[in-house]
């Protein structure tokens, strides 16, 4: 249970971090007409954060440290 809980905590923190990173005022820091590697910095920033967010999600969720999940296998629609 603590392991499952920890994963949930990580996910929430990830959400909060993502929300902060992709909103005012952090976003305003990159609101400039400037190119970095030929890409506007605002786009570069948003897409980088986006990619990192996905990467972190994958790492948190796919980490195999949960030998026993609390959930039972879900039933199929037919079985009763």
């Amino acid at each position: 249970m603590p392991e499952v809980k920890r994963r949930n905590e990580r996910l929430v923190v990830l959400l909060v971090l993502g929300f902060i990173a992709l909103n005012y005022p952090l976003l305003s820091l990159f609101s400039k007409v400037r190119l970095f590697f030929g890409i506007p910095v605002l786009y570069l920033y948003i897409f980088t954060v986006w990619s990192l967010f996905i990467l972190c999600m994958a790492l948190v969720l796919e980490k195999r440290a949960f030998p026993s999940m609390t959930s039972s296998p879900p039933r199929s629609g037919k079985a009763e």
């Binding site: 909103n23 609101s31 190119l35 030929g38 967010f53």
Partner: protein
């Protein structure tokens, strides 16, 4: 230029492929080999989120607002972080309760109130209809562009009549598709595998199509994205798009759109349908949580390049930015690319419209029409299974045609994005009722109704009404200054709030009203039993294993229940369902057999799958008589502490057991310590006893050695003493060994018939010399009849000798008299050894059988025995199930008594023991 018929043929071929995939998917599902049961198909099916709005609208929005299109995709990305526990919880609840739509879900949470289901359905239909019409509009527009675009300078704007409008035919094809693959089962909780497979396929097509056009623009029309961007930066107009300032409404709007899309990804009816109802396995959520954001990322990478390219290429011409995806390749005379893009757009549009119409039709049928039908007298006892499917099919047609009508009447005046956002804002109204509902038990039915109605009303007033105004249906004066000239009621600046864009403005007020009323009313509301039960079942879905079947305590017969199910899903299916149930449970199928609570619960869930939770509840109550809810099950569910109590009970029991075990251990330990002490005592006593004779043997031996000239008599006397003491020593050692053997249980006892008179005779014979030496008289009183016991003969003789010699020790020589008496009382033989010595003091009587307990002899101060004789005798008698004790009074002699059980079967074998 592409010929119109070519486009049509290819489009319909493509739709044909969809039919084939869906058909194949259903076939595989029927064969039990699902093709959708993996997280990748699940992810792709969720990507139905990317509609024609994404496909065409994103580029359009990007062309005017720069990054303004992104929040719509960042929101779902962020929300995906919560899927693992929020979405999984919703899926679990929906599976347990067999919920088939978002309306069903909300209604079920709030006491299965049909009213709530109805409200949600109406909000969904009103809110989503524009969105569906948006898809039709996109198909129609893109088709027109594709076959009329020649150059940016000559855009042909022509209005179609209804009969030449492709959108109508596309809508009809979609309706047919939805009918075929969306209403296969009456039980809506059955998955539509073919549909999901087709939707997933469409997601692949639109992603590839968009990436193809993006790569084409970046690398074919321009020499890579950086060159494209540097071209764009040269124009000050385009450079503006690189900054946040290009986003209308600024950061507030950015925030609102992020929030709206976070809600939309889960609570748009079609998303809910694919995420929850069509979910095969909860575990798929895990992979989808990061794969789906990845999909969104990929489909958005090329949005900016395409819009920049369009703006650069068509500078100065009035080309609708919403069509850039098509017009840019057409401009470059790459008609095949454009055609592929068109198919991508068609995929996006049809996927959304099909799933949305199916989801809405289920809601309309189960939460809007059924509750009304069931109240009508006409339908009271009729078979409704065919009616159900007809209603659903009718609703699908109705929805798509209404969507088309909306597009013809209003849609033209709105851009794609605005219509989409209006729908998002409607879907967001479901969020509080669901999210608060699955985490807060107190959220009440009345609170939910108030919140939903208020949110919907505010949404309608601030977004829907203005859209009618723009279409010219309602006078402009309502917007400016406001209704009845009241400025503070203006739909775009309610109560003077005019710092936000329209969407943010509407979302703020509607959410405030919605959440405020839901929470506010709930806080002051009193929930009834049903509400509390449903709340507990939803909030604690992971705690209760499955649904609590003890909820129903009323009575109904199995036959009644079966008839009820048959009315809705048909007799064949009903028979199958009950047979399936009987496989896992004991089911008495007798006509008048009483249905147990479990079966009632099963029936209700089966019905819920077909007609929705609210209607199912109504139907069940019409059949089941008596109390709806069993008090026991109720307590179980409501009483959060019951588990805690049970847990502490178990703890108490454990600690009690531990206490008992500890006490036992302590007692054992005490016994061991005592034994240890006894052993020490025994050893020290034995040593002491051994030392006394040894000392005298040694000292007399020394005297003899050192004084060889000792007179002969004295020498003789000393030698006598040495011999005597040695004898005593031997006796002592023998007895210690004897006792040790007895205590360790290593003595082998023989059992034979023993005649007691003979035993006494033998014993007295063997020590007659002792009596003679001490001039003590021995008197034997023996019965005439032989007395038999089962015993170890030698041991009994040992006992007798012991007692007799003891008696001799305490008798006055000369006057001493010892009597041995043998008698028989019922079942017992009794031997008494009586002396006329000084007797034993009562205090001593108890202890004389203890080891090494010695009584002081009469004639000399030194104790004569080893102190083990009586102990050994006691052991021997006890071993023969007998009893030995002493009766005595001071100065009146002592009487030792032995009782032994008589042998039962020795008479006929007389003499057996005489050997």
């Amino acid at each position: 230029m592409l010929q119109q018929w070519v486009i049509l043929v290819i489009s319909f071929c493509y739709l044909g492929i969809l039919f084939a995939i869906a058909y194949y998917g259903d076939k595989r599902a029927d064969a039990g080999r699902s093709i959708i049961s993996n997280p990748y198909i699940y992810t792709l099916s969720i990507a139905v989120y990317c509609t024609a709005w994404t496909f065409y609208g994103s580029v359009g929005r990007s062309a005017t607002t720069g990054v303004g299109f992104l929040p719509i995709y960042l929101g779902p990305t962020l929300m995906a972080a919560l899927w693992w526990f929020v979405l999984r919880k919703i899926i679990r609840i929906a599976k347990v309760h067999r919920l088939t739509s978002i309306a069903d879900f909300i209604a079920s949470r709030y006491a299965k109130d049909p009213l709530i289901g109805g409200i949600v359905t109406i909000i969904a239909v009103v809110g989503i209809l524009p969105y569906i019409s948006l898809q039709l509009k996109a198909v129609s527009t893109s088709f027109n562009v594709l076959h009329t675009f020649q150059s940016p300078s000559q855009i042909i704007h022509h209005t179609e009549t209804i009969w030449t409008d492709t959108a109508l035919y596309v809508a009809l094809v979609m309706a047919v598709f939805s009918l075929l693959f969306g209403t296969r089962h009456i039980d809506a909780s059955e998955r539509h595998e073919g549909l999901v497979a087709a939707v997933a396929f469409e997601s692949v097509v639109k992603l590839i199509a968009f990436c193809v056009v993006g790569i084409f623009v970046c690398y074919y029309l321009f020499a890579g994205p950086s060159e494209l961007v540097s071209d764009a930066v040269k124009s000050p107009e385009l450079a503006k798009l690189m900054k946040m300032e290009a986003v209308p409404g600024g950061y507030a709007s950015w925030f609102t759109l992020t929030f709206l899309s976070m809600m939309a990804i889960m609570f748009l009816p079609r998303q809910f349908h694919l995420l929850v109802v069509e979910n095969v396995n909860e575990e798929h959520v895990k992979k989808a949580s990061w794969l789906f954001p990845l999909y969104l990322l990929l489909i958005n990478i090329f949005v900016l390049p395409i819009s920049l390219a369009g703006l650069i290429l068509f500078e100065g011409w009035s080309v609708d930015p919403d069509t850039f995806v098509l017009t840019v390749p057409l401009y470059a005379k790459q008609e095949l690319v454009a055609l592929f893009v068109f198919l991508g757009g068609l995929s996006a549009a049809t996927g959304m419209a099909i799933v949305a119409s199916i989801a809405l039709s289920t809601m309309i049928c189960n939460d809007l029409v059924m509750p009304v039908l069931l109240r009508l007298h006409y339908f009271q006892q009729r078979d409704l299974s065919s009616v159900l499917l007809t209603i659903r099919r009718g609703s699908i047609f109705g929805i798509l045609l209404l969507g088309y009508a909306y597009f013809r009447l209003i849609g033209e005046s709105y851009t794609l994005v605005t219509i989409g956002l209006v729908s998002f804002a409607a879907a967001a109204q479901f969020a509080p009722a669901i999210l608060i509902g699955i985490y807060w038990r107190r959220a009440s039915r009345r609170g939910a109704i108030a919140g939903l109605l208020a949110g919907f009303a505010v949404w309608g007033y601030t977004l829907l009404v203005p859209s009618f105004v723009i279409s010219g249906w309602i006078p402009q004066s309502i917007l400016e200054p406001g209704p009845f000239g009241l400025a503070f009621l203006g739909p775009y600046h309610l109560f003077g709030l005019d710092m936000f864009d329209h969407i943010t403005h509407s979302v703020f007020w509607s959410m405030l009203a919605n959440v405020g009323l839901l929470v506010g009313v709930s806080l002051f509301d009193r929930q009834n039993t049903m509400e509390r039960v449903q709340a507990a079942l939803f909030v604690d879905v992971f705690r209760h294993r499955g649904i609590d079947t003890r909820l129903w305590s009323g009575t109904a017969t199995v036959a009644e229940l079966k008839r009820l199910v048959a009315r809705f899903i048909g007799p064949v299916e009903a028979e199958k369902a009950f047979a399936e149930y009987a496989e896992h449970h004991d089911l008495d199928t007798g006509l008048n057999a009483q249905a147990e609570a479990n079966l009632v619960g099963f029936t209700e869930r089966k019905l819920a799958g077909a007609i929705g939770a609210a209607s199912a509840r109504v139907m069940i109550s019409s059949v089941v008589q008596g109390e709806e809810i069993g008090i026991e099950g109720l307590m179980e569910i409501l009483d959060e502490t019951s588990q805690v109590i049970e847990y502490s009970h178990r703890l108490e029991e454990k600690s009690r057991e531990l206490e008992i075990a500890t006490a036992e251990l302590r007692a054992a330990n005490r016994r061991l310590t005592e034994l240890d002490r006894l052993k020490d005592e025994f050893v020290s006593t034995v040593t002491h006893e051994l030392r006394t004779p040894l000392t005298s043997v040694r000292s007399f031996s020394e005297i003899l050695r050192d004084n060889p000239s000792l007179p002969r008599e004295e020498r003789q006397q000393f030698l006598d003493i040495i011999v005597k003491e040695s004898e005593r020593l031997t006796r002592l050692i023998n007895q210690v060994l004897d006792l040790a053997k007895m205590e360790s249980g290593s003595v082998t006892w023989t059992r034979e018939c023993v005649e007691l008179a003979r035993v006494i005779q033998e014993a007295s014979d063997s020590i007659s010399r002792l009596f003679h030496e001490n001039s003590i008289q021995l008197e034997k009183i023996l019965p005439a009849e032989p007395v038999y016991v089962m015993a170890d003969r030698d041991r009994l003789i040992q006992v007798a000798i012991n007692l007799l010699s003891n008696a001799v020790k305490f008798c006055e020589p000369g006057t001493g008299l010892v009597q041995v008496r043998l008698s028989v009382s019922p079942g017992k033989a009794r031997i008494e050894v009586i002396d006329n010595g000084p007797g034993i003091h009562p205090d001593e009587q108890k202890r004389i059988f203890d080891k090494f307990h010695q009584l002081k002899g009469l004639r000399d101060e030194k104790p004569k025995g080893s102190g083990l004789g009586l102990t050994i005798s006691h052991r021997i008698v006890t071993h023969h199930d007998g009893r030995i004790w002493v009766e005595s009074a001071p100065e009146a002699g002592a009487k030792f008594i032995i009782e032994l059980p008589l042998a039962k079967s020795c008479e006929d074998s007389e003499g057996a023991g005489h050997t």
